[in-house]
Assembly symmetry: C2
Homo-oligomer: 106 residues x 2
DNA sequence: CACACATATTCGTTATTGCTAATATGATGA
DNA sequence: TCATCATATTAGCAATAACGAATATGTGTG
């Protein structure tokens, strides 16, 4: 039961491993956005956002649909949305200790 | 409500961004283990595992408790465990598309 | 205290990832 | 078809992260 291959998991989770990608996911958490809108929201270069979107798409986290000259991106499904919500919940409880890697001193 | 700071989230999620760290989390998902046991399970060098454990600790994902000359590591709390379970659930649904970043060709 | 064992830390090197700039593709509409 | 706008891709350089080897710290025991 539920024993997904490690490699797949690694690839999937890679989607969460960059500030900009997390911002993109947050940006489209509740409603789809065009690339242009994402660029504005996240405030990064077109090329940069496009590359991160490619990554997120490859990770299976987001999907894009074309409509006219725009491409709308959104989370792949409700589970991914739940996952994002869960992060927030866990963080509520952990926030303090999160100093991450190197130097958790003060 | 539930609006954890982006920086904190980035740091926390960084914990999931490496194969070895994911393996460690899986290894201690259901019961605590000593560093030595983790080293054997994951099959990496002592130094390497120790560094990743420091990272995971800094990310707020795991905690360690000393008992005699051993240190037992375990997931910080039930929420983190739920998160890991959720990953598996999401992966069940996404598995196929997950080719991640660069080249989702075959 | 000296020794053995468990774990942590540091340092220098290598590998991976991200970024920018330039260019390419693809769709729309005059 | 040509011009324009939206997005994707490539290439080369810059920034980060990971690793192994060596060393340090800490704990129990004779």
């Amino acid at each position: 039961m539920i024993t997904s291959d490690l490699e797949v998991k690694v690839k999937f989770l890679h989607g969460f491993s960059h500030r900009t990608r997390i911002q993109i996911l947050e940006a489209i958490k509740h409603n789809e956005k065009t690339v242009s809108e994402i660029i504005q929201t996240v405030n990064a270069s077109q090329s940069n956002i496009s590359q991160h979107l490619a990554c997120l798409k490859g990770c299976g986290m987001v999907v894009g649909r074309q409509e006219g000259k725009y491409i709308y991106y959104s989370l792949r499904n409700q589970k991914v949305r739940d996952l994002l919500t869960m992060f927030d919940e866990v963080l509520e409880e952990v926030e303090e200790e999160v100093a991450c890697c190197k130097k958790e001193v003060e």
